[in-house]
Amino acid sequence: MKNDLRARREAKGWTQARLADALDVSRQTVNALETGRYDPSLPLAFRIAALFDTSIEHIFTPDQQPVQSA
C-alpha cells in the first residue's frame, strides 16, 4: 500500500517524532509507515486520516487496483 504521509507531515512542518506523539505510536512506526514497510491497522489509519482532516483513501492507495468483476 502506498501513502503520502511524508508529504503531508512535511507540509505541516512536523517531525516524525511529533507525528508519532500525535498518533501515540513510536517514531520508528511513523518511519515504517512513510517508507511503506508497514501497513497500518484500520483504527490507526482512521486516526491518521482524522489528524490530517481527510479520508483514509486520500492518504492510502493500494499498490494494485482491485480487479473489477464483469
Binding site: E10, T15, A17, S26, N31
Partner: protein, 136 residues
C-alpha cells in the same frame, strides 16, 4: 529536519523508561532472592521451606514476565507485532530444544544444566529475531 534521523518521540521515551524501570525491579529482586536462596537453601532442612527458598528467585522472574506483558500493552501495534513474532520464534526454538534434550535422556546422553540450555536457546532465538527485524 523532518527525516528518519529524528530522535525518539516523547511517547517512545516514556514507554521505554517504564519498561526499563519495571524490568530493573525484576532483575534486582532476582539477584536479591537468588542470594537469599544460595545463602539459606543449602542449610535448610529438607522440606517445604527448602523448596520455597530454592524457588524464591522464580517470583522475580514472574514479575519480569509481567513487565514484558505490560510493555506489550504499552507499545504500538507494529512494535507489538514484531515483539510477538520474536516471542513466538523463541517459544518454538525453546520447545524444540526441550524435545531434543528429552530425546537424548533415554540414551544416557543427558546434558548438564539442560533447562538452562532450553532457556538460552529460546532467548537467543528471540534476540536473533529482533536483530533481523531491525535490519529488515
Amino acid at each position: 529536519m523532518t527525516s528518519s534521523l529524528d530522535t525518539r518521540s516523547a511517547g517512545d521515551r516514556r514507554r521505554t523508561r517504564a519498561y526499563l524501570v519495571e524490568f530493573a525491579i525484576g532483575m534486582v529482586a532476582y539477584v536479591a532472592l537468588l542470594g537469599l536462596a544460595l545463602a539459606f537453601a543449602p542449610a535448610a532442612a529438607p522440606g517445604p521451606a527448602r523448596w520455597l527458598l530454592a524457588l524464591a528467585p522464580a517470583i522475580a522472574i514472574g514479575w519480569v514476565a509481567v513487565a514484558v506483558v505490560r510493555h506489550l500493552r504499552r507499545i504500538d501495534e507494529r512494535q507489538r507485532l514484531q515483539t510477538l513474532e520474536g516471542l513466538s520464534i523463541g517459544f518454538v526454538v525453546a520447545m524444540l530444544s526441550a524435545v531434543a534434550l528429552g530425546l537424548l535422556e533415554p540414551f544416557g546422553l543427558s546434558v548438564i544444566g539442560g533447562p538452562w540450555w532450553i532457556y538460552g536457546a529460546g532467548m537467543l532465538a528471540w534476540l536473533a529475531t529482533s536483530l533481523v527485524q531491525r535490519v529488515r
